[in-house]
């Protein structure tokens, strides 16, 4: 990885707009500006169209011979399938309200990273083929034809968008760049252009159930190790049920939480919580990936990976599914799952908390509940014994993940939980949280090492907001409800606000949870010393 400039240098080095109009500027592919291409074998294995070897830095991308026809036909097909696409091509007035709402634009000052221009890249092609004025007047009215440079440009900017939808919140017509980006990525996959960091996890999720391609027995082993760690910390070894039939609940969380620090501590939080509740649940190795890398590729790939959830719930006879903390996983579950793969298996029921009796009517059809909803309900009904002082060593803020915020509206549930498990909670500035939250800058399949500087640029608005509360209020921790965030916010915090640690919500729950029969806690879930152990001891002796 190339050495990063300092944050000040990064901010100062954002270039001015070019002199020539955007339609005449060409994308540049220098190391660090692009994600590595998907391997030919991976694309073949996933039956993607036109797999081929190519290199973004090369002049020739080895597109299939009839690439233009493929793309034109695919575009036509998408227009026929998605009203949103037709509409978003037609109604933009270029008012510019979206421009400085995009974290990629703020961090790069590249005009084509303004959501309006990102869409205009496609809209210019639409104008030539689908509007009378574009056909007649061409470039004068912003219309242009396909050429290989345009394909490169689409690739460049479709992978400088994290589909976070912040622009769609501010757009007076609700034009959603995530929709445009998703469709452009679909078009590019039609001519065999994909990225390694997305397609490899897609392949792994499809065949092994998790994005790293860990085989079932190893997956179980890792979870057992996490359970051992739980025992070291609490004296209680939580149960780890796998692939068992006849349980009430199937629990699915992003597999990153099984492998990657700091997600593993969130996973330990789940284990402890479920054990304490004596929850009737099981994990599945087959459907062990909550995240959906297919959703960064195409709608059909998202459907294909998502299909395993209901299939496994049906096979295991689970009555409903509890979902872990994840961002785009919840975009898929909340807005796509039921449409893709519903109706849910007939034996499933509207989720009902076995502990509180609360019926989650808002999930009556998908039968899937978010863990933050589940835990907030437990806390509200006083079903958990919590000692928030165990998190007194942290002053935490909360990062709303894009998808739960703007494609679901999960805002107050995690905050409710957080406030009950932590004594010190500070919000970041109001234009950077809740529905206006800024992306970590690496979502939708961009959290790959080779574009680290670009990621830090895209993470600038989030990084700046974090640094502000760090310096002003002494914040040293950021909680989030997204596995990609847990992986990406750590380097982001190290870069923009060194000294801030990142964790999932349920790691903090696991810390604060007072379990029946537990040994005295001296360590948090990271096996670091708890700050106020002596106080606990004094209470214990009374």
């Amino acid at each position: 990885m190339a050495k990063l400039p300092t944050p000040q240098m990064l901010v100062a080095s954002r270039p001015n707009f070019p002199d020539e109009p955007w339609i005449d500027t060409k994308p540049e592919f220098t190391p660090g500006s692009y994600c590595y291409p998907a391997k030919k074998e991976t694309m073949e294995l996933m039956h993607m169209p036109h797999p081929h070897e190519w290199d973004p830095a090369a002049e020739d991308w080895n597109l299939p011979e009839n690439w233009e026809k493929i793309l034109c036909d695919a575009f036509d097909d998408r227009l026929a399938r998605h009203r949103s696409l037709k509409l978003f091509m037609d109604i933009c007035v270029r008012c510019g309200a979206c421009a400085d709402k995009c974290h990629f634009f703020l961090g790069t000052n590249d005009p084509k990273n303004m959501p309006v221009l990102r869409a205009e890249l496609l809209r210019s092609l639409y104008r030539r083929d689908y509007t009378m004025l574009g056909k007649l007047l061409g470039k004068r009215v912003g219309a242009r034809g396909w050429d290989k440079e345009v394909v490169k440009e689409l690739f460049s900017y479709a992978y400088q968008c994290t589909e976070c939808r912040r622009c769609s919140l501010f757009c007076p017509y609700g034009i959603d760049t995530a929709e445009i980006t998703a469709i452009v990525r679909e078009l590019l996959h039609e001519v065999g252009l994909g990225t390694h960091w997305i397609m490899d996890p897609v392949k792994n999720c499809s065949f092994t159930g998790n994005h790293l391609g860990i085989q079932p027995h190893s997956f179980v082993e890792i979870v057992e190790m996490l359970a051992d760690d739980c025992e070291t910390i609490t004296g209680i070894r939580p149960k780890t049920p796998f692939n068992e039939k006849g349980h009430e609940i199937l629990f699915i969380t992003p597999s990153g939480d099984v492998f990657a620090d700091p997600g593993i501590y969130t996973f330990m939080g789940y284990l402890l919580l479920f054990h304490e509740l004596d929850l009737d649940y099981t994990f599945s190795t087959y459907s062990s990936e909550g995240g959906n890398f297919g959703s960064f590729t195409s709608f059909n790939m998202a459907k294909k990976l998502n299909a395993k959830m209901y299939a496994e719930a049906e096979r295991l006879g689970a009555k409903w599914i509890l979902g872990g903390e994840c961002g785009h996983m919840w975009r898929v579950i909340n807005q796509y799952m039921d449409t893709y793969n519903g109706p849910s298996p007939s034996h499933m029921i509207t989720p009902k908390s076995p502990i509180t009796g609360t019926v989650f009517k808002n999930a009556a059809s998908t039968k899937m509940v978010h863990i933050a909803e589940f835990t907030a309900d437990l806390i509200y009904h006083n079903k958990l014994k919590l000692d928030p002082s165990r998190n007194d060593h942290i002053v935490t803020t909360f990062h709303d993940s894009c998808n739960p915020a703007r494609a679901m509206g999960l805002l107050d549930e995690p905050r409710y939980v957080l406030k009950h498990v932590c004594n010190n909670f500070v919000e970041m500035p109001e234009n950077t949280i809740r529905e206006q939250t800024f992306c970590c800058g690496s979502g939708s399949g961009l959290n790959t090492e080779e574009i680290m500087e670009l990621r830090m640029r895209a993470g600038m608005p989030r990084g700046n907001a974090l640094r502000y509360v760090q310096q002003k209020h002494g914040v040293n921790h950021m909680a989030c409800v997204c596995a990609i965030d847990r992986a990406t916010l750590t380097p982001l915090a190290n870069y923009w606000a060194p000294g801030v640690t990142v964790s999932g919500l349920h790691e903090l729950v696991g810390n604060a949870l007072v379990m029946k029969g537990e040994s005295k806690r001296t360590m948090d879930l990271r096996q670091e010393d708890l700050p106020n152990v002596t106080d606990d001891e004094a209470e214990g002796e009374e």
Binding site: R81, C92, P172, Y286, Q335, D377, G409, L411, P429, Q471
Partner: protein, 339 residues
């Protein structure tokens, strides 16, 4: 940005010349009928074109707290979960430009004393919202005021609008506030396109042309009322003739009136083929017009392809022995599967 101004001036000049050359009936009779037909048919075609494509997924942008637990307060306007909620969200969006109201202006500082390093600050920025709202409402009121030319007798509500509009009682004929504000709002919208670097960079002829055109309509209209005063009674007789499909001669009409009418007709002709279709378009926007209830109610995709995925049976076949060694429950034990 100025070539579209020249185009508007050219259209005006042609209309003027046409009126002087005795072609007033072409511009005053044929063109308005054609324009109205194209406008209505064009918009209908555009809406049908949109409607032909399905809405495969329910993708509302949630602008607030979802409907979830009883003790968590839902933001029913920005994150509606019912049809009524969506209705009110759309009312706010269409009538008050709710989303634009959120607008902020981002300033990025390299060194900020509080952050001791870079800091981004987001200032509330309501100018665009304010002038857009003024522009659209004044345009609407001016349009409504014009109904006194289309109707006889003039309904009292229109007379009322006029009396409010002229309540300042400045000048004779009375100055209509809406006309003045509309002019100011157009100049603001044009000004930001010309002077704001970002806006200038993204603006196309397609953006300047409608602004210059509407400016032309407004300026010619203001001229007709205050400066190059036209004979109102004749205009009314002429327009009533048009609306009753019994057109009277346009020859005696003021050339400026023909210019005004021609520019309005140009706007109608241009409308269905331009970004101005955002007017009906907003009602179709799937990020705004759908409830956030997709976990409660299944949204159906008419082209939903058949399910194709790596099934559990295939998975167990691939990893059966390892799974058995790990003690995982199996559908078929290895020895059974081998048979």
């Amino acid at each position: 940005m100025f070539e579209s101004l020249l185009l508007v001036l050219l259209i005006g000049a042609i209309a003027w010349a046409g009126a002087s050359m005795g072609l007033a009936s072409l511009f005053g009779v044929v063109l308005p009928y054609a324009a109205v037909v194209v406008f209505i048919a064009g918009l209908a075609w555009r809406m049908m074109y949109w409607a032909k494509s399905p809405v495969p997924f329910a993708i509302p942008t949630t602008g607030g707290q979802e409907e979830s637990l009883d003790f968590i307060k839902q933001d029913k306007l920005d994150c509606p979960s019912t049809k009524w909620g969506v209705f009110w969200r759309m009312v706010l969006e269409v009538l008050l430009f709710r989303s634009l109201f959120r607008n902020t202006y981002a300033e990025v500082r390299e060194n900020d004393p509080i952050s001791k390093g870079p800091r981004s600050i987001y200032y509330s920025s309501k100018w665009l919202w304010c002038f857009s709202l003024l522009f659209h409402y004044c345009f609407l009121l001016v349009f409504i005021r014009h109904f006194r030319f289309f109707m006889d007798p003039v309904p009292s509500c229109i007379t009322f609008v006029e009396s409010i509009d002229g309540i300042m009682q400045i000048g004779s004929p009375r100055f209509f506030m809406t006309g003045g504000i509309l002019l100011a709002a157009i100049l603001f919208l044009l000004g930001r396109r010309i002077f704001n670097q970002r806006l200038r960079y993204i603006s196309l002829v397609n953006d300047y042309f409608p602004l210059w055109l509407i400016l032309g309509v407004v300026v010619s209209g203001i001229c007709l009322r205050y400066f190059d005063k036209t004979e109102i009674a004749q205009v009314k007789i002429f327009i009533m003739g048009l609306t009753h499909f019994a057109p009277v001669s346009a020859e005696h009409l003021n050339a400026m009136f023909i210019v005004h009418l021609t520019l309005v007709c140009t706007l109608l002709l241009y409308f269905p083929f331009s970004k101005l279709v955002h007017m009906p378009g907003i009602f179709f926007s799937p990020t705004r017009n759908l409830p956030n209830n997709t976990r409660r109610v299944r949204h159906v995709n008419p082209w939903n392809p058949p399910k194709q995925f790596f099934t559990y049976a295939e998975y167990e076949d691939a990893y059966r022995d390892a799974m058995a060694d790990a003690g995982l429950p199996l559908e078929k034990q290895p020895e059974k599967a081998a048979e």
